[in-house]
Subunit: 184 residues, 2 copies
């Protein structure tokens, strides 16, 4: 745990946690909850895999199927919140992000780096969420046309760390990530 | 795991998982992600503790501070989605809910059942999210006026179970929870 009074160290700890989630399949930050607003205004949340976390650009990344409900939601309202719970650090990280959806030629390089056995996660037919008659009436051909990248520039970060005494801070791109403490 | 082709058994498994989360502090379903839409239309998501799950009434319950941002969000848009990941069953449960906020005399009975050392989670001063000068510049007097109950009648359930072959189904109060399979 970082120095209790050091805002910068608190933010450092969060980014280390996120970077760790990209490489360690067992890390809490590997699987953020990804919340969006549906086209009719309902909140939606599902688990995604954290594919990149870059502090220098304050950007995180997830991959998905362009036919998924979350992409439909993002086309109507391009904002999301990602939330991670890191059980070892007892740290909740929330990131408010705007989302850019990349597809086609813009994702060819990333697609080439995805192992062939992992490609089946993308391009399910019929598209994700479509009604089917029996549980396995679908195919996963694993085509690049079924692959989209969600580039997520982070606008705000809210950290809550549990402990003998909880502490919470918020950070924003608008104040150059200086942050401030707030009541938990 | 329930019979792969049995929709009713799949829903049974999800409710058992939720009921287990209420009583077992280590269960995945103990800590749902709780997504709302903020007053300005941004998605928000944070962890809550699952306090009740009743299949007969299709209702789940969480407790919070009435001064929290989630209550402010719910006063503008009384809809939420709860999402649970159960690592043993490899099961993701999403519940779209409408939310009724109970306070005051309506929660006196529940408040009386909360152990005194757990009451400090409610009624933080200044209210949760308020800027403070140093990380521990807050108090947790644990007063009933800082306690609200979120009663969440479930409208829809979306289940995704990972495995050699993934399976997904949706259930809705509108079709009396009969459900249908859908592409994962």
């Amino acid at each position: 745990m970082s120095d209790h009074n050091d805002l910068a160290a608190f933010l450092d700890e969060a980014w280390l946690c996120l970077e760790h989630g990209v490489t360690d399949k067992d890390a809490g930050a590997r699987h953020p909850a990804f919340a969006t607003v549906s086209p009719v205004g309902w909140p939606e949340v599902r688990t995604v895999v954290l594919r990149a976390a870059d502090r220098a650009t304050a950007q995180v990344e997830a991959h998905t199927d362009p036919a998924s409900a979350k992409v439909q939601a993002l086309r109507c309202s391009p904002f999301a919140e990602l939330m991670v719970w890191e059980p070892i650090a007892l740290l909740q990280i929330r990131m408010a992000v705007s989302v850019e959806i990349l597809m086609g030629a813009a994702v060819t390089e990333r697609w080439a780096r995805i192992p062939s056995d992992a490609r089946s996660a993308y391009g399910t037919q019929p598209p994700p969420g479509s009604p089917i008659d029996a549980p396995f009436d679908y195919e996963k051909p694993g085509q690049q046309s079924g692959f989209a990248v969600l580039i997520c520039p982070v606008q705000r970060i809210d950290l809550v760390q549990l402990g003998d005494r909880h502490r919470r801070a918020t950070f924003s791109i608008e104040d150059a990530w200086q942050g401030n403490w707030c009541a938990p």
